[in-house]
Symmetry: C2
DNA sequence: CTACATTGTGTCATAAAAACGCAATGAAAA
DNA sequence: TTTTCATTGCGTTTTTATGACACAATGTAG
């Protein structure tokens, strides 16, 4: 099938395959250059950026939809996604956007399930920036990381969805393996501290942070130090996953 | 319209009024006799208990749906509802239940939007037990409070939904006016402590609890004491709403 | 081989939390 | 009327956690 034919099929027959009125949007966080980032797609023709989102197969758990959608739209695979909120403002209609989109690719309007109201379920994920290679799908012009403090204009209520995800991330910090998911296997103490500072949006005392995080027992100090820094080389650490998961049940206390 | 005609209309024309595939379920908590309780409806014919739930008008925010549904099904009005999770297991089908229901009231099967898959959005609320008079609607046999540790068998995944709501309540305790919503205007210190103990599911030291809660400044001690207890009479307290809402922004720390 | 930015470890003062003591109270029992 | 008893209100002591800061150690750049 050609791209145009596929699209037309999606607009006029997609409701045979997908549930009406329900969609999923994913907020993907990464950490790189000591900055928290979010992964966005540039919607073709609309010109604005969007969260990777999609629709629900008729017999699919939303958790699985989120995984599939993320894979299809960005290439990211085997990512743990976490549902955080459902957005149901009746004005969050994709009708105008979708009609515009259809016109742009040469179709006249008509009736489509895609013009109807959608309630969107928000999922978020934390990924190891260095391990993933995002690839835009064919209805997007680009797929890029943005610093969370410098997100561009987004379609619909995607900015609101993104902000809720960020807020939720703060609440999760003490109860989910946020550090493990966002950092590489091994990392330095300043890197971990910067991650906490970014998510909590406040400065922490370097020495007190070290004492507190080490007292939880979730870290193992490695023999290896970071090379190529023009000052005292910091040690690498890794997570003790067993102690980490135990500690998370009670909460870390940051 | 007669009851039967209304029902038939709902089954075979409801989709013209409501969104397909989406529903709302409400978990209503109350506190009475030093016990946390949940409000359930007894589904007619099914014999099992259920959370008060319902459907979404085509142009309605889910927050408003939840309010409307709660009002219609239990009589509770002006209740602050809080969305906590969306349940999307593809097996959570109401098809069998609804077909049984139709047969029981004398209709043969057929095709109905009510037989299709539903994704349900969970809302929870905290109400002053003494202030509300729950009234069952006409598709329920009863509307009753149950102790959270003694909930009866429920339809579908309603037990799971209820348990998620209870779990969520624990997280809210430090950031939402849980005490204010669940207790009467005035209350004693042991009552407040019991509420915290029930929600947190652990014993607290009476003296340390008093000191900690008073140090937050959210309570005002009244002159009045509780009458008719065969031991030292405890004082009544009320919330200082301004200080309470300020303190909640930073979290109470329980 | 010195300068420099940064790390690793430690100390001290203070605040918060946990554990416990005891007199006061008010209805019920004697 | 007096005593009993469960419970409240207010306190103390001990332990633990937090915040603020000092200083030596280290790896590269100049």
């Amino acid at each position: 099938m050609t791209f145009e034919k596929e699209l037309k099929d999606h607009y006029f027959h997609g409701h045979e395959k997908y549930l009406r009125h329900i969609s999923v949007d994913c907020v993907i966080f990464g950490f790189h250059d000591n900055e928290l980032k979010v992964l966005l797609l540039k919607a073709k023709y609309a010109g604005k950026w969007a969260l990777p989102g999609g629709f629900i197969l008729k017999d699919e758990h939303l958790d699985d939809s989120a995984k599939r959608i993320l894979k299809d739209r960005t290439g990211l695979d085997k990512i743990y996604l976490h549902q955080f909120y459902t957005f149901s403002d009746p004005n969050r209609s994709t009708k105008k956007i979708n009609q515009q989109f259809l016109r742009n690719i040469g179709f006249k309007g008509g009736k489509s399930w895609m013009f109807e109201r959608f309630v969107s379920v928000g999922y978020s994920a934390l990924v190891d920036f260095t391990k993933v290679k995002p690839i835009a799908d064919n209805i997007s012009d680009a797929c890029e990381w943005f610093k969370v403090n410098e997100v561009p204009e987004m379609i619909l209520d995607h900015r609101h969805i993104f902000e809720m995800a960020l807020k939720n991330l703060r609440l999760q910090l003490n109860f989910q393996p946020v550090g493990f998911n966002l950092l590489s296997k091994k990392f330095t103490m300043p890197e971990l501290q910067k991650l906490y500072e970014t998510i909590l949006n406040k400065k922490l005392d370097r020495r007190n942070f070290q004492r507190k995080i080490m007292s939880t027992g979730i870290l193992v100090k490695l023999k290896e130090t970071k090379k190529g820094v023009s000052h005292k080389a910091p040690f690498y650490y890794k997570f003790d996953l067993i102690k980490y998961s135990k500690a998370l049940k009670a909460g870390l206390g940051f």
